[in-house]
């Protein structure tokens, strides 16, 4: 993110929503205006050179661990929490961002957090149809639901408008197909799913099946040991990559 435009006012950056995903070259992926430092800060997004080195290093370490776990192949990682407001979106966004910091990698963030979708804010401009629309409607292409963001090499699939019956959509073959599709299109694309709390929602459990690995976010003062153990049992130890304690 060396080309970060520092002095650009935030309002100017919101130009248009450019659908992406159709390009085969990473560098040629349709980039829109990038977030300014202030916006990054407001969105609590890490960036490559900014002041918050400690957090950046923590996410880098996290990235290393996940890559090591999956033998440096690309993966589908679901990020879930114990309870609502556990900081899943924050962790998911930053994880996606830290993967995207590597210029040889891109990351795709799927917003499956039906109850508190928040990834729209990453998209510069208006967000339109999302994953639920894609799954429920016929005739939408994958590229229709993948949006570019203010972060280079980071793409977002928003939740969309058709949220009823999401559990059924997520367990559908179309969902499986969708994941396989976006995963196989770029071998250096890392997919992150921002999921609802695992103990609270059936969607999260279904999404666990789809994901290669699961990161469980434990919020500060938000979960008891019993709840954590229940969540671990629900996810299954083979899928669980580990815990992230969110202060």
């Amino acid at each position: 993110m060396t080309d970060n435009l520092k002095n650009e006012p935030p309002s100017v950056t919101a130009l248009q929503a450019v659908h992406s995903g159709s390009n085969s070259e990473i560098d040629r992926m349709g980039e829109v205006d990038q977030f300014s430092a202030k916006e990054l800060e407001r969105l609590k997004l890490i960036n490559g050179q900014k002041t918050n080195v400690q957090t950046l290093n923590i996410f880098r370490e996290l990235r290393t661990q996940l890559l090591r776990r999956n033998h440096k192949k690309n993966f589908v990682c679901m990020i879930t929490s114990i309870c609502h407001g556990g900081g899943t979106s924050y962790v998911a966004t930053n994880m996606a961002s830290v993967f995207a910091l590597d210029k040889t990698k891109t990351s795709l963030l799927i917003d499956a957090n039906l109850y508190a979708p928040s990834l729209d804010q990453l998209i510069i401009g208006e967000s339109g149809v999302g994953i639920t629309d894609y799954l429920s409607r016929v005739g939408l292409d994958i590229k229709d639901v993948v949006y570019a963001t203010g972060v280079p090499r980071l793409r977002v699939v928003p939740i969309g408008d058709n949220r009823e019956g999401a559990a059924e959509y997520f367990s559908s073959e179309k969902m499986q197909h969708f994941i396989n599709e976006i995963r196989s299109r770029y071998i250096d694309r890392y997919i992150f799913i921002d999921s609802p709390p695992v103990t609270d929602s059936s969607e999260a459990r279904i999404l666990t099946e789809i994901a290669d690995m699961v990161v469980l976010v434990v919020p500060h003062g938000g979960a008891t040991m019993d709840q954590i153990e229940t969540a671990i049992n629900v996810i299954g130890k083979d899928k669980l990559a580990g815990l992230v304690y969110n202060n």
């Binding site: 923590i58 434990v218 815990l243």
Partner: protein, 507 residues
């Protein structure tokens, strides 16, 4: 718990407080103002105390020292406390303070009594000194009530003392009466016994027997003496003739004749025969010669052992001896008679002694009864007089056991918490309660606040993400802080204002 952990705990607690800052501020405000309001209505307490001294004396003890064992009072404080806290004393105090009709219902009276009991405290301060303390909302009330309590207690204990000594007296009096009855009964029995048995006692009989015996001895000796005397007299009598002979007469005449002849011869030496005195003497001589002749003739005629004629006389010695003999014999006879009487008496005495010995056991029992009862009766009589004296002393108020050592003084300053204390305490209590509640919440709440705990799980911990401070959140925090400080200042201003207003009497 080492220091680092403590710091982390403090951080966690601060974070929890910060997360609930408005709630905490609200709680702090409510608690502080509650304390202030409590302080506003907190009654000031005026405490006063009096010290009484307990004399370790008992009326009954000196009276009954040997006769009866006395229980010794050891714990004066307990006695005083029990007495003062007894409903009787408390009710008297209440009646004295509020009048006998001061309360409408018995329940109210009971409440008042209980309240008084709770407010009066009795504490032993050693060596028979007992401190009675009382606290009330005003100085006057406090002083009035404590004086009343002490007065009523002292009076009651004095009355009790008097009652005690009176009871002691009555008890002893009663005992004396009983013993008197017993004594009379014993006396009566003894009298009855003696009236039925005239034999008297052992000693009497012995004395009587010895007396009789000595009399008998004396009599025997006397009779012996008399016997000897009678024998001697009888011997004398045999030697003595009953009558004296005429010869004696002639002898008398012969002596007279000799005397006359001597006188005539003496006269003839100087005078002639014709001298009248000589002539007279010659005649006289002649007469006597004639008389002698007659007497001799009489003797020749009568001879010895012949009937006494008119000239024979009884022998006076003989007479005397005879009369003596008679007297001696009479005396002896009476003595012999007396001796036999005495011997009979002695026999009777011996019989009497036998009877006495037979009844001796019974009598000695009766006598013993009588003696013992009499001794105790006399003793009790003495004690009764002592008891009467003690009672009199008590009635005059001399033997009081409790006296006021240090009278109560009207208290000048209230004790305990004052309004200022509450004003100062309010914020402190508020802060402590809020922090305490948060600490308690953190300790009780099972939710994880320390990432180390996750290590207990058999799952990798990928990362611990610190709290992100963006400039926006920093600004927010700063604004929150300013808001909180402003709120705090406002709250404290209101608090201090309220406190001052209350202090100045505006509320």
């Amino acid at each position: 718990m080492d220091f680092a952990l403590l710091v982390r705990y403090v951080n966690v607690i601060f974070r929890e407080i910060w997360q609930r800052k408005l709630l905490c501020l609200f709680g702090f405000t409510v608690i502080s103002f509650t304390v202030l309001i409590v302080g506003l209505f907190w009654p000031s307490k005026f405490q006063t105390s009096a010290t009484i001294f307990a004399d370790n004396q008992n009326i009954l003890k000196p009276l009954l020292d040997k006769q009866a064992a006395q229980s010794k009072v050891q714990n004066h404080t307990k006695v005083v406390r029990d007495t003062i806290q007894s409903p009787r004393i408390l009710k008297t105090v209440i009646d004295n303070l509020y009048g006998p009709d001061g309360f409408e219902s018995a329940a109210e009276l009971g409440l008042a009594i209980n309240e008084l009991r709770a407010k009066v405290s009795i504490k032993g301060i050693g060596a028979g000194h007992i401190k009675i303390a009382y606290s009330d909302s005003t100085s006057e009330d406090s002083y009035r009530v404590i004086n009343e309590v002490v007065d009523v207690f002292i009076r009651a204990s004095t009355d009790e003392q008097r009652a005690e000594s009176r009871e002691a007296f009555l008890f002893i009096d009663n005992q004396v009466k009983q013993y008197k009855d017993q004594l009379l009964l014993a006396e009566e029995r003894l009298k009855d016994f003696r009236s039925l048995n005239f034999d008297g006692r052992d000693g009497d009989v012995d004395a009587s027997i010895s007396r009789i015996r000595s009399q008998i001895e004396e009599l025997k000796i006397s009779i012996d003496e008399d016997n000897t005397a009678v024998g001697a007299i009888k011997t004398q009598l045999t030697n003595e003739s009953e009558y004296s002979s005429q010869k004696h007469k002639a002898d008398v005449y012969g002596e007279r004749l000799g005397a006359l002849e001597t006188t005539r011869n003496n006269l003839l030496l100087t005078y002639t025969e014709d001298y009248p005195d000589v002539v007279s003497l010659t005649y006289q001589i002649e007469d006597i010669r004639n008389a002698i002749r007659d007497a001799e003739e009489n003797n020749k005629k009568v001879g010895p052992n012949k009937q006494v004629d008119k000239d024979t006389v009884l022998n006076p010695l003989y007479q005397e001896l005879r009369s003596r003999l008679s007297i001696a014999q009479t005396g002896m006879q009476s003595k012999v008679k007396r001796l036999s009487a005495l011997q009979g008496l002695m026999g009777k005495e011996f019989e009497r002694r036998k009877r006495i010995a037979e009844r001796g056991a019974e009598e000695s029992e009766l006598t013993r009864d009588y003696t013992v009862t009499k001794r105790i009766y006399e003793d009790m009589l003495e004690r009764k007089e002592k008891a009467r004296l003690s009672m009199t002393l008590n009635i005059e108020g001399q033997g009081v056991t409790y006296r006021v050592q240090e009278p109560a003084l009207p208290p000048l300053n209230p004790v305990g918490l004052r309004f200022l204390h509450f004003v100062l305490l309010g914020p402190i209590v508020g802060l402590l309660v809020v922090v305490g509640l948060v600490v308690g919440f953190v300790l009780v709440d099972q939710r994880i606040r320390f990432p180390e705990r996750l290590q207990e799980l058999d799952v990798a911990i990928l990362a611990t993400i610190p709290h992100i401070k963006t400039s926006f959140t920093k600004r927010m925090v700063r604004m929150d802080m300013i808001m909180c400080m402003v709120l705090s200042v406002l709250i404290m201003a209101a608090y201090i204002g309220l406190a001052f207003a209350a202090r100045l009497g505006m509320i």
